[in-house]
Symmetry: C2
Subunit: 366 residues, 2 copies
């Protein structure tokens, strides 16, 4: 019988991975449907790049549309446990959306501190919909973050930026799920790198499972930055990071050291892809695989395509042969997060009279 009672399905990461998270008996077991996201086997891109076991981990299927929900549920649960009355973050994007959603779920106030010159109303739409209060700061992002930290030290207000260690604890559960689904770690992980908290969290999760003998191996970690926002690749902070992939438009990553550790301990690499390569991958992922991701997610697919191409041209490192390897790409956020970029895709639109024969001709059926 294919249908069995599965009360355990989608119970949320706090319950599912309770033993591996900083949970106490006093932690509220929040769940807004985060985690247990699909791991989808490629039907077409795998063939294109010459990889038989290419998977996409669809973190875009989290309730607010990005991987941030995994870390946020832990951060907000711990905030409640510690008696916080509000949560606060300096963010214009996915972090603020997730923080506002979990705060709303729990009846906490949410504050989003944003440099006034960086406010794009579209990016804040989710946080606003969830009732967050936006503080438009007459200063830059670093100042916003510093003030946010100071406020969390002085008041019962939890800062839920990635400086909050509970965020990375929650995010590591995605690595657990991949191992649980594949019955071992993959050979290679392709992941976008912006603030570098997520690459740090995945590596933490894979190492933890390996040490607990729940995985027989650890993956090689291939991190991808946008060329215009590639401080780790360049080895120094970028003053004015620029890229179409706004979710990884970061000049000075908070988890820089974690990213280097993931790279070096796994025998991996952190490399850069251009905006053009990102947009090519963005379209390919949507049009050849059926996955509509935000541009930042496409960065790691761009990296995979780049490696496959240079392998064909015999320029690739032979040890990154992917043909018989299990490869996972992390799709961090939904394409619906970034409607402007989607609308920039030119529509193939044909005007047709309301007649069968005309539609047949337009569809090349005659």
């Amino acid at each position: 019988m294919s249908s069995t009672v599965s009360n355990s399905a989608r119970e949320g990461i706090l319950r599912r991975y309770r033993d591996r998270l900083p949970i106490t008996d006093a932690t509220p077991m929040l769940c807004l449907g985060e985690g247990e996201t699909p791991l989808v086997l490629s039907r077409r891109l795998g063939e294109r790049v010459g990889c038989r076991r290419l998977y996409f981990k669809l973190e875009m299927c989290n309730p607010t549309g990005s991987f941030k929900d995994r870390g946020m549920v832990v951060a907000v649960a711990k905030a409640m446990e510690e008696g916080a009355r509000a949560v606060l973050c300096a963010s214009t994007g996915n972090t603020s959306a997730s923080a506002a959603a979990y705060a709303a779920h729990c009846g906490l106030e949410a504050f989003v501190l944003v440099p006034r010159d960086n406010i794009a109303r579209g990016k804040l739409a989710q946080a606003v919909a969830h009732g967050a209060r936006v503080l438009a700061l007459q200063g830059n992002f670093d100042t916003a973050l510093e003030i946010a930290r100071e406020i969390s030290r002085r008041h019962p207000v939890a800062i839920v930026n990635s400086v909050n260690p509970n965020r990375i604890q929650g995010q590591k559960t995605a690595a657990f799920e991949i191992v649980d689904a594949l019955a071992d770690a993959p050979d290679i992980l392709f992941i976008p790198v912006g603030n570098a908290g997520n690459i740090t969290a995945y590596w933490l999760g894979f190492v933890e499972y390996y040490q607990a003998e729940l995985a027989a191996r650890k993956p090689r970690i291939m991190g991808w930055q946008a060329a215009g926002a590639a401080p780790i690749v360049r080895g120094e902070p970028v003053e004015q990071p620029e890229t179409v992939a706004s979710a990884i438009r970061i000049g000075n990553p908070a988890s820089w050291k974690g990213a280097l550790a993931a790279r070096d301990e796994s025998g991996g690499a952190i490399e850069a892809v251009t905006d053009e390569e990102i947009m090519d991958a963005y379209r390919l992922l949507a049009q050849e695989e059926g996955i509509f991701a935000e541009p930042a997610s496409a960065a790691c697919v761009a990296g995979l395509l780049k490696h496959a191409l240079s392998a064909k041209q015999s320029k690739g490192t032979p040890e990154l042969d992917i043909a018989d390897k299990t490869v996972v790409c992390i799709i961090t956020g939904h394409g619906l997060k970034d409607p402007e970029t989607a609308l920039a895709i030119e529509a193939e639109m044909t005007d047709v009279p309301a007649e069968l024969a005309a539609v047949e001709r337009a569809m090349a059926l005659t």
Copy 2:
């Protein structure tokens, strides 16, 4: 140990419910991560309406952001089995997004036939991103649907509108999942009603599980139409349906009879809520529960709130007492699907100087 190997998780509805779907050995086992969506226990709205076991089924967590993916994976798999080279639908919204995604996943062409005067580029953004070709018809929706049906009769092109019976077969799996998660059917289901395929599918699923003795009861089905697009409530088609909830803006539902059967056989009702009630529920759901749904989804929550309110005023039917009942609301689509409506929410924004004391004042911490 909380972490066990779970290869069965998120395997897609074709594999999970194979025995209960029109699947043969020749059907390709497609999976784009559809199904196994979260069933979230309310933390705050349940208290507001006086219901201890209020759940939300987050169909918005499907890969294209709506419940349509469940039916589409079956429809596209059957289309491939039958040798179709393309899929075709008359749709401007969630159906076209889902059809285009699954077609892209499989390498089929996707065509979207849209009345030229109804084209809203924003609503088509997903289908366009997935590479669908848009045919702008010089005619109305009924003509578009009739031409689409005729083309599917004459050519190896599958029509994937809800006239395709595989759509409803796939959608019934959401009812299975609810029973699987709760270990029985809920007492009452609140669900939005537009074209009425989904209410039909849920009832089909609940009845099927009941007859197979996988559930001890069947739920009462409470369907909700928008007041400006309420043909079933009024008992006659609506010429010019109007509502903010575009996904249920339907004047002449394709599955009208199925909706009446669900209502009458379950001892339920189909009622209407105004756009104002829908928007109130939309905000409440986002701001008190942390769930950002498209307006159509909020229609069923509006219905729940309306019933709770009239119960308090002793106007409600006493037999719809929800206090000790298990109640499930179906959240059909993601709020990110409809950025215009989200952006119409007024942002609570405060300008603050870049000083700690100023931010403290703005947060009422001093």
